[in-house]
């Protein structure tokens, strides 16, 4: 081995490293968990904050963007709510009161970690994304979050809401790690909403494991006020004939990095990752995906639409990997962006890595402005320019919004879209 050059640490890196040293003794979990945490921390310690020379982070240079690491909150638990609403405030989980539907079990992650068996540890610390410094930092430091277990065959119709908030006005960091285990033939949906009234740096991880023929739909949503810096990692392992879909609706926050590591491990998986990002001002949103087909007959669909105004910047990096035995994989990936301003920028990097010969995979990426022909068509029908532009933008986003299965969530996101457009017009 060649000796590594000494890492020159930034101020933020130094304080993140110190925060682990201070916290580690008090983090929940037995020896096996501690071992997993230490291995994860080593990854972070060795790499430091990701920067532009790390390919997967090329367009989101955290070393530069995170000049200062805010102190990681000791955490103030939110009040418990009824229904299927889990509050995660400052990274601390509060479970809802009242009875849960049959087949659904919720456990605060701090408790799950304290008594974790080998299977749970394996699920909680997967190899996917393990060499990503920020995902690793999350694995090392997370104290809490929620463990959601859906028993085999259970059909949970109402979405389980995970509401991420922050308390107080002082700048702080929060870290959370959630695991959703969906048993064979079970079905559930998760709505993950992020808000942050204060200056928050958030590192959140959602891990999904879907058993045979399980079905899970996940919606990620930023609310009116969202963290000024947010790294959201999604890891999913999808079993035979299971269907996993994840939809992201992004309209708030300053710097958001969403990274998804999704793997189909059984035949006949259906994976769908989609999203709409509405960016303005100096907002920066990065969506980086790695979708891996390890076995035959898998299907994956990725479709992301980004609308950028002001000086906003957007990133889409999607990589579909088809392993040598994953014949008959059907993959389609698309990223489309509309620039509403000359100062906005979109970076698209779709990639296919195909090691099997009998597959149908395609990708496409477009960046453009509003189409003057379309605008004229609507204006010639009596619609003023600003309204015509709004209709075209809304239609562009609705094309993918239609894929959100839950009607109430779809309508809520639709209202968010209309509101964003109305604010732009005013």
């Amino acid at each position: 081995m060649t000796p590594r050059p000494p890492v020159i640490r930034t101020k933020a890196e130094t304080s993140l490293v110190e925060s682990f040293a201070q916290a580690s003794a008090s983090l929940p979990g037995g020896d096996a968990v501690r071992g997993a945490r230490t291995r994860a921390f080593d990854v972070f310690h060795e790499r430091g904050l990701p920067h532009r020379r790390i390919e997967a982070w090329h367009y989101t240079d955290l070393r530069n963007l995170m000049r200062e690491a805010y102190p990681i909150a000791s955490g103030v638990a939110a009040k418990a709510e009824s229904g299927l609403r889990v509050a995660i405030q400052d990274g601390v989980c509060t479970l809802p009161t009242g009875a849960l539907p049959a087949g659904l079990k919720l456990t605060a992650m701090r408790d799950a970690l304290a008594s974790a068996d080998e299977a749970l540890i394996h699920a909680l610390f997967p190899d996917q994304g393990a060499d990503d410094a920020m995902a690793a930092f999350n694995a090392a430091m997370a104290r809490d979050g929620v463990l959601i277990e859906v028993a085999p065959g259970a059909q949970i119709d109402a979405p389980i809401e995970l509401s991420f908030t922050a308390s107080g006005d002082a700048p702080h960091g929060d870290i959370s790690r959630c695991l959703v285990m969906v048993g064979a033939g079970a079905r559930a949906s998760i709505l993950e909403s992020h808000a942050a009234p204060a200056r928050v740096q958030r590192n959140s991880a959602m891990i999904f494991r879907l058993g045979e023929a399980a079905s899970l739909s996940h919606v990620f949503e930023t609310c009116a006020a969202s963290p000024e810096l947010h790294v959201a990692t999604l890891i999913a392992e999808v079993g035979k004939d299971a269907a996993f879909s994840s939809f992201a609706f992004v309209c708030a926050g300053e710097v958001l990095r969403r990274q998804a590591f999704v793997r189909g491990v059984g035949e006949g998986v259906k994976i769908a990752l989609r999203g709409v990002s509405l960016l303005k001002g100096k907002q920066h949103a990065d969506t980086t995906l790695v979708v891996e087909h390890a076995v035959p007959h898998g299907e994956s669909r990725e479709m992301f639409k980004t609308i950028l105004d002001g000086e906003a910047s957007g990133v889409f990096q999607g990589k579909v990997v088809v392993r040598p035995h994953a014949q008959k994989t059907d993959g389609g990936m698309k990223s489309q962006a509309i620039l509403l301003s000359d100062d906005a920028a979109m970076y698209n990097k779709p990639e296919l890595e195909i090691f099997a010969d009998d597959v149908v995979c395609g990708h496409g990426a477009t960046v453009g402005q509003l189409d003057e022909d379309q605008i004229f068509y609507l204006m010639a029908r009596g619609i003023p320019r600003a309204q015509a532009e709004g209709m075209i933008i809304e239609g562009f986003a609705r094309e993918v919004l239609e894929f959100v299965e839950d009607e109430a969530i779809r309508e809520r996101l639709g209202a968010g879209l209309s509101g964003w457009l109305a604010r732009r017009a005013s």
Partner: protein, 249 residues
């Protein structure tokens, strides 16, 4: 109704309309015929107010009002309708949403009440039935995945609902089979009224068997080079545009 006088228009610094004059009276159906590239679509765009054209000379007057300074949506509210040669697809915007937005945008500009939803739906149903536009088409995003014939029928549906004062049909016959052509022509004929005029742009005589014009004008190299009655269309069908192209050169 519509008076165009000595109209000169450029696009990208290139003069396309070169002194075009034309008068269309109330209730008149005027046919514009001419070879490809003669400026027919350009005329339709300049009259309906598309950005990007520079009018260097001349005037366009609608019912006594000079419209050249108006934006396209204002002209539409004044009663100018253009049935596009190539109707645009608008992904994600359902046809119903679009129709309602268009009808209400015009009403608002004219200071009229917005349509109630039941009234709107009733109007659309009635018009759609006559034109053979299915409910399923109305639920789909505007023109997305429609066949050429469906797109043209959708243009006529919009025209019926928007009740224009002057409708410009830019090669509405192109790409239509004979049955679709008949449906479209019937839709237009049903709209003929003493206070509504039509400018029917076509390359072929065929459409004029179904929409019988009151006058026929030959457009060549950016000017009207000959006007006559419907007999002129038959003559053009027989002899082609050769004489007029030569004249203009």
């Amino acid at each position: 109704m519509l008076t165009i006088t000595d109209l000169h228009a450029n696009i990208d610094g290139k003069e396309i309309l070169k002194g075009l004059s034309l008068t269309v009276k109330p209730g008149e159906v005027a046919a514009i015929m001419g070879p490809n590239g003669s400026g027919k679509s350009t005329l339709s765009y300049v009259v309906s107010g598309r950005d990007g054209y520079e009018v260097t000379e001349g005037s366009i007057v609608l019912n006594g009002e000079d419209i050249l300074a108006m934006e396209a949506h204002e002209r539409a509210a004044k009663g100018i309708f253009l049935a596009f040669q190539y109707p645009l697809e608008i992904p994600g915007v359902t046809t119903m949403t679009f129709l309602k937005a268009a009808m209400n945008a015009q009403r608002k500009q004219r200071g009229e009440e917005e349509l109630t939803t039941p009234d709107f739906i009733k109007r659309v149903r009635a018009a759609a039935d006559k034109l053979g536009v299915s409910q399923e088409m109305l639920r789909r995003p505007l023109n997305v995945g429609f066949s050429g014939g469906e797109k043209k029928r959708m243009e006529v549906l919009q025209m019926v609902l928007l009740e224009p004062k002057i409708a410009i049909l830019d090669e509405t016959d192109s790409g239509l089979d004979i049955d679709a052509l008949r449906i479209v022509a019937e839709g237009v004929n049903a709209l003929r009224a003493p206070d509504r005029s039509f400018l029917v742009i076509t390359h072929y005589q065929r459409l004029l068997d179904y929409i019988v014009p009151d006058s026929v004008h030959v457009l060549s190299a950016g000017r009207i080079v000959k006007s006559g009655d419907k007999g002129l269309a038959l003559e053009l069908e027989k002899n082609g545009y050769r004489d007029y192209v030569a004249d203009a050169a």
